[in-house]
């Protein structure tokens, strides 16, 4: 693998992304929004600390262990903010699902893939560069948003015990393991969708449907059908790891040099 060629592709993709206001705004503003929302709720919720016994009795049993030693108000805050943890999982899905269609369909509409493929770069290097250019912003934005949220939460949560409960293993698995796996998943699917489309907006809209599984998880957790605990997070990681391997294999096959030149145009 020629790392210079890969880095050139990544830089090229980012340079184009920087000039595309729609993509750039998605990369910047969506993580900010998803960080601000739970912080606002945390801030508003910090006011109620008493009379919440009724709320505690309604919480799923899994929350009980998290709430040991906390006041009912702190426990309520942790419960509500936990619901929004899955929103952070939307970031690694949405960002590659926005970048990749413009990256692939953009090359198709500009007819720039043939000159690119005529260089000594291998298909694997080209695909690696394109994948990294879409996945890295998704993963980095998720991590930065989480870091920002951690700082905000520390300032808003008076109790350090409550703060430590908020960042337990399931959060860390979700952010540092499931997040990248979701980004790879979203990117591979976006490549497949983009290979069939000649309009980046259509490809982006279709790729954006990928957020539905995450929203379903979010709703399932809100309703109480799903409890997003450590084991569930690990199971999800395993599922997405398998899906990522399968989809990346398919995406690589779709991104075959000959297919691109003879069928994509």
């Amino acid at each position: 693998m020629n790392t210079t060629a890969i880095a050139t592709i990544v830089r090229k993709e980012w340079a184009e992304m920087y000039r595309n206001s729609l993509v750039l705004s998605t990369v910047i503003f969506m993580p900010l929004l998803f960080t601000a929302l739970p912080l606002v709720i945390l801030g508003v919720g910090s006011g109620f600390d008493s009379g919440s016994e009724a709320l505690l009795s309604e919480l799923p049993p899994q929350m009980a262990s998290l709430c040991a030693g906390l006041t009912s108000g702190q426990c309520g805050q942790i419960y509500i903010v936990s619901q929004f943890m899955l929103m952070f999982m939307l970031i690694p899905v949405m960002i590659p699902a926005t970048i990749t269609p413009y990256s692939i369909v953009g090359e198709k509409t500009q007819r720039s893939l043939e000159p690119l493929l005529a260089t000594p770069i291998s298909t694997a290097e080209l695909l690696t560069g394109k994948n990294l250019a879409a996945i890295l912003p998704g993963v980095i934005a998720t991590w930065l948003a989480f870091a920002l949220f951690a700082v905000g939460a520390r300032l808003l949560l008076a109790s350090s015990l409550a703060f430590s409960r908020l960042f337990d293993a399931r959060w860390l698995i979700a952010i540092f393991l499931l997040g990248p796996l979701l980004a790879v998943f979203a990117n591979a699917l976006a490549i497949m969708v983009s290979s069939r489309s000649n309009d980046p907006r259509v490809a982006q809209q279709v790729s954006s449907l990928l957020v539905f599984p995450v929203i379903m998880l979010f709703l399932g957790q809100m309703i109480g059908w799903i409890v997003f605990d450590t084991s569930f997070a690990l199971i999800l990681c395993l599922v997405f790891l398998i899906l990522d391997i399968a989809l990346t294999y398919l995406a690589v096959r779709i991104f075959d040099r000959e297919t691109i030149l003879t069928r994509w145009a």
Binding site: T4, A5, T8, R11, K12, A15, E16, R19, N20, Q110, R111, S112, L113, E114, P115, L116, L117, A118, T119, P120, I121, S122, R257, E258, L261, T262
Partner: protein, 307 residues
């Protein structure tokens, strides 16, 4: 420089018979020549270039490009050639210099900045180097694409319709540049629809329509089809003049048309003096003598239509 042996490419199609895009193509392109590859739309010219540039594989047959066997080391072939694709395919939101810089790095050019500057200056784009390519005219984009194909100083260049859609001024500039490249000793494989351009630039021409129809120099192709004809312009046509000339050795045919005598000869350089002497001896008043040149278009149409 390029040697192909029965190079064939078949495309499979769903629910339809396979499409033979290139059928048993055998050619030799010599080092330093401008090789014209002419044929109608859909003849398989771009498929041929894509095979020779190691972008797609052949179904059958073999080829060596710049000493590299097709199918063995695709990256080595691509590193040793430059290609101007049918459409320039630039990154519209990036500047001209940025576009070239990307390709200089992908080709592993040792001093990318220098090379980018060299070709931007050479093609008159240096002043616009920081402008977005999206705002460039078609001619400027084509020049930029040419610069991109040359950044790594390849010996062999594939040019697919280099002047297509350009205004006469831009087309002339590109043609002059191709002449300059030939002067530098580069080998150029030129696909074009512009027959006048092919006639002016190419040392040899291959007429192609899925299969190779004919391959020769433009002059030999004309000779092969039409022979050589000389027109003698006379002040007045005298009776029996055509018959007198037709009887001369080496003259195949002489026809009187108004005040002109059209003479079909094997070798005008040798036979013209004798014809002129015969005409003057017969009392003809000779005004001009010129060779009747058939255009390459006539040659092209003759071969393509008969194929």
């Amino acid at each position: 420089m390029i040697h192909t042996q029965n190079l064939t490419r078949v495309f499979k199609r769903k629910g339809e018979a396979p499409l033979i895009a290139v059928d048993t193509l055998s050619i030799d392109v010599r080092r330093g020549e401008v090789f014209g590859f002419l044929g109608p739309n859909g003849a398989g010219k771009t498929t041929t270039i894509r095979m020779l540039a190691a972008l797609i594989g052949p179904t059958r047959g073999t080829a060596t490009v710049n000493g590299h066997m097709l199918g063995e080391d695709a990256a080595a072939i691509r590193r040793s050639i430059g290609i101007l694709t049918e459409t320039p395919g630039m990154y519209d939101t990036l500047s001209a210099a940025h576009n070239l810089h990307i390709f200089a790095q992908l080709y592993g050019v040792p001093e990318p900045e220098k090379q980018v500057e060299k070709y931007l200056r050479m093609l008159g784009l240096w002043e616009r180097r920081e402008d977005e390519v999206g705002g460039f005219s078609k001619g400027m984009r084509q020049k930029l694409a040419l610069a991109r194909a040359l950044l790594h100083e390849p010996d062999l260049l594939f040019l697919d319709e280099p002047t297509s859609g350009l205004d006469p001024e831009a087309a002339r500039l590109v043609r002059d540049f191709i002449e300059e490249l030939r002067g530098q000793g580069r080998t150029i494989f030129l696909c074009t629809h512009n027959l006048d351009e092919a006639d002016r630039l190419c040392d040899r021409i291959a007429l192609f329509r899925t299969r190779l129809l004919v391959l020769d120099t433009p002059a030999n192709l004309r000779r092969q089809l039409f022979g050589r004809q000389v027109v003698f312009h006379l002040r007045a046509m005298l009776p029996g003049l055509a018959e007198t000339v037709a009887a001369l050795p080496g003259v195949q045919e002489a026809t009187a048309i108004d005040h002109k005598l059209l003479v079909h000869v094997d070798d005008p350089e040798t036979q013209n003096p004798a014809i002129i002497r015969a005409l003057i001896a017969a009392g003809a008043d000779l005004q001009f003598v010129g060779e009747l040149r058939y255009s390459l278009e006539d040659v092209y149409l003759q071969f393509v239509q008969s194929s």
